[in-house]
């Protein structure tokens, strides 16, 4: 016996289901991705600049043992003086080179590389294997050597170390007080010497080791004004000497050729873990991660080479020497990968 009440209920339910389906379809066709909310701002597909494949259009020797490369591609990111790029060589080796062309040129990067006879093979590959017409992967640019505002500047370049400084010299506003000491083994091995001489005029001191011996840093720094920014890029010995001779009141900015290699002198430093209230010492030749793990064994990490990003930690105080290949400039501002990066000074404070 089909009770009239059951029939009415079934009819009502069917009508309700049809109406719901129609309403849902309308809602979905008006906004196909309804009903999930979106994260604002989105994270995926946004942050990291993509590596570009650039065409090598010039590969020329510009000084003894120095080649200049011109890499072209459309719509390259702009950069500031002091910036460098990662060049991925055909063998897979990654090497960092300072940009020494025109920062406003978004169609090409210019960089220069010295042949290091006893190096790890990267510079030899750049000199001997690269030929015009090849496509190379380039990552960056990044800047860990930015030109800060200062009342006066002293630049110290050792050989190929002139490359990050050259765009700075070009960018300094007229009337800025600055001078440059440019050292090298021989005049013939020093790239961009003519251009530097033209830019600097009588503010330039050239010290070729075979003619003049070692540079006289004391004379260079004599009479340096308070607040002068000293920019130095060159061999480790030169940078250590500049650090030694640095006059009081001046700030030092160093650019190392090969961060992330064992070439740099690793100094020991202290790391305070503020939330856990502990302080650890990171010895030379060991990592922050290793020191932290002795105190906090549950600390997350993985690749230990600075590419996976698992060990990223927030930095509260202290200047970091970033040696990873992953973090963006914004992330570097307040965090570090503790597996490879180190302190620039003698102390860091981490939020862990």
């Amino acid at each position: 016996m089909p009770a009239p009440r059951t029939a009415a209920l079934a009819l009502g339910a069917t009508a309700a289901a049809l109406l719901t389906r129609r309403a849902l379809r309308r809602r979905v066709s008006a906004s196909p991705l309804w009903p999930l909310p979106a994260l604002d701002p989105p994270v995926s597909g946004q942050s990291r600049p993509r590596p570009a494949r650039l065409l090598l259009t010039a590969h020329e020797t510009i000084a003894d043992g120095v080649v200049r490369l011109r890499l072209e591609g459309p719509g390259l990111p702009r950069w500031e003086p002091g910036a460098h790029v990662d060049l991925v060589l055909p063998s897979g080796l990654v090497r960092q080179y300072s940009l020494c062309g025109d920062p406003a040129d978004t169609s090409a990067y210019t960089l220069a590389a010295r042949l290091v006879a006893d190096g790890r093979g990267g510079s030899r590959e750049v000199h001997e294997q690269l030929t015009e017409g090849m496509e190379l992967e380039v990552r960056g640019p990044r800047n860990r050597f930015p030109l800060v505002a200062a009342p006066a500047y002293v630049f110290v370049a050792g050989g190929i170390g002139i490359t990050p400084l050259l765009p700075m010299l070009r960018a300094l506003p007229d009337g800025t007080e600055w001078r440059l000491l440019y050292g090298g083994r021989t005049r013939a091995s020093m790239p961009f010497l003519d251009e530097v001489a033209q830019l600097a005029g009588d503010r330039l001191t050239v010290v070729a080791e075979d003619e003049d011996g070692r540079p006289d840093l004391a004379a260079l720094f004599a009479g340096t004004a308070e607040g002068t920014a000293v920019y130095c890029c060159g061999p480790e010995g030169l940078m250590a000497a500049v650090e030694q001779a640095l006059p009081e009141g001046a700030t030092l900015h160093l650019e190392r050729f090969a961060p992330g290699t064992a070439a740099g002198p690793d100094a020991a430093f202290e790391v305070e873990l503020r939330r856990s209230g502990r302080t650890v010492t990171v010895p030379a030749g060991s990592s922050v991660l290793a020191a932290v793990r002795r105190e906090l064994p549950g600390t997350a990490y993985s690749c230990e080479q600075g590419f996976c990003g698992t060990c990223q930690q927030r930095v509260l105080e202290g200047e970091v020497e970033h040696r990873d290949e992953l973090l963006t400039d914004a992330e570097r501002h307040d965090s570090m990968l503790i597996c490879v990066s180190r302190a620039r000074g003698d102390r860091l404070v981490l939020d862990m």
Partner: protein
């Protein structure tokens, strides 16, 4: 823990891909297959970042040194997977198919809905962590399934699929096969409750089916070269029969395997095949040289 195959120490490989030469329909003439597989690029960047964050919290709870080592290797591999798929997204945007409306939702799904919640410490916090560890174990059952499938999907080669995209998928698939036991072993180590396994499987499976069909529809509807981008279940099923996508039957048969009380991921897939692919993969071998 029984593992019939030899144990491989897990390590992340710093791969990098160049997408400049990859066309929009990288399986030539087959937008449906292309976009069904492309959904991986929508889900994995946020999803695998979430794996990493959950496992970072699980790490201090592990009481077994070998498992801890495996989890550490697993985390790095997942982090690089997430980065590698993330780099495909700007390329899709350049080709006129902006994935952001969808990925922003996936971001919300993993960062907010499944993210860290303000819970009182102690039992509620541990419950939410275990629930997510179990979800990851269920999802990893499917990533291993898909990884094993793509390593054997010869039909994609025969159709002339883009070699860079195939290398991304197979490098990723091979690492998923390589580390397929880790998520399940972590879940068993921390909890292993059968009820939780079934419950989280149901959630993960429903979410995957929902997000996947929606992602495929999203791509087909927004593909600038298609005027009427629609897909039916039958299209999908047919692709499965041709070997262009995983077969429907295979997928259904994988369900009772995970729900069986005797399940262990080592019974799925072939570690040797995965390692052989990684030894030959252009991206993985370049990464090997880079890390050296």
């Amino acid at each position: 823990m029984s593992n019939t195959q030899a144990r491989v120490p897990l390590k992340a490989r710093p791969v990098s891909f160049s997408w400049d030469g990859t066309p929009l329909h990288w399986v030539p003439g087959d937008p449906l297959t292309t976009h069904t597989i492309n959904v991986l690029h929508l889900l994995l960047p946020a999803g695998e970042r979430w794996f990493v964050r959950v496992y970072q919290q699980a790490l201090p709870l592990i009481r077994d040194d070998r498992l801890r080592e495996d989890v550490i290797g697993f985390i790095g591999q997942e982090a690089v997977h997430s980065q590698a798929h993330d780099e495909v997204l700007p390329h899709l945007r350049e080709l006129g198919l902006d994935p952001t409306p969808y990925t922003a939702q996936v971001d919300w799904f993993f960062e907010k809905l499944l993210g860290d919640r303000t819970l009182p410490p102690g039992r509620p916090r541990r419950w939410w962590l275990l629930e997510r560890v179990a979800l990851i174990a269920a999802i990893e059952h499917y990533t291993a399934f898909l990884g094993n499938w793509v390593l054997n999907a010869g039909e994609l080669d025969r159709r002339g699929a883009d070699p860079t995209m195939l290398d991304l998928l197979r490098w990723h698939g091979a690492e998923e096969v390589e580390h397929r036991s880790v998520a399940f072993e972590l879940f068993t180590h921390l909890d292993g409750s059968y009820r939780r396994r079934v419950r989280t499987w149901a959630t993960a499976f429903t979410a995957l089916v929902f997000l996947w069909q929606r992602g495929t529809r999203f791509f087909l509807a927004n593909d600038p070269t298609l005027t009427d981008g629609k897909a039916t279940f039958k299209d999908f099923h047919d692709r499965g029969r041709q070997g262009l996508l995983p077969g429907t039957g295979d997928m259904l048969r994988s369900i009772p395997r995970y729900l069986s009380r005797a399940y262990h991921p080592s019974q799925e897939g072939d570690t040797e095949q995965a390692l052989a692919y990684l030894a030959a993969s252009p991206a993985a071998t370049a990464a090997e040289r880079r890390a050296a």
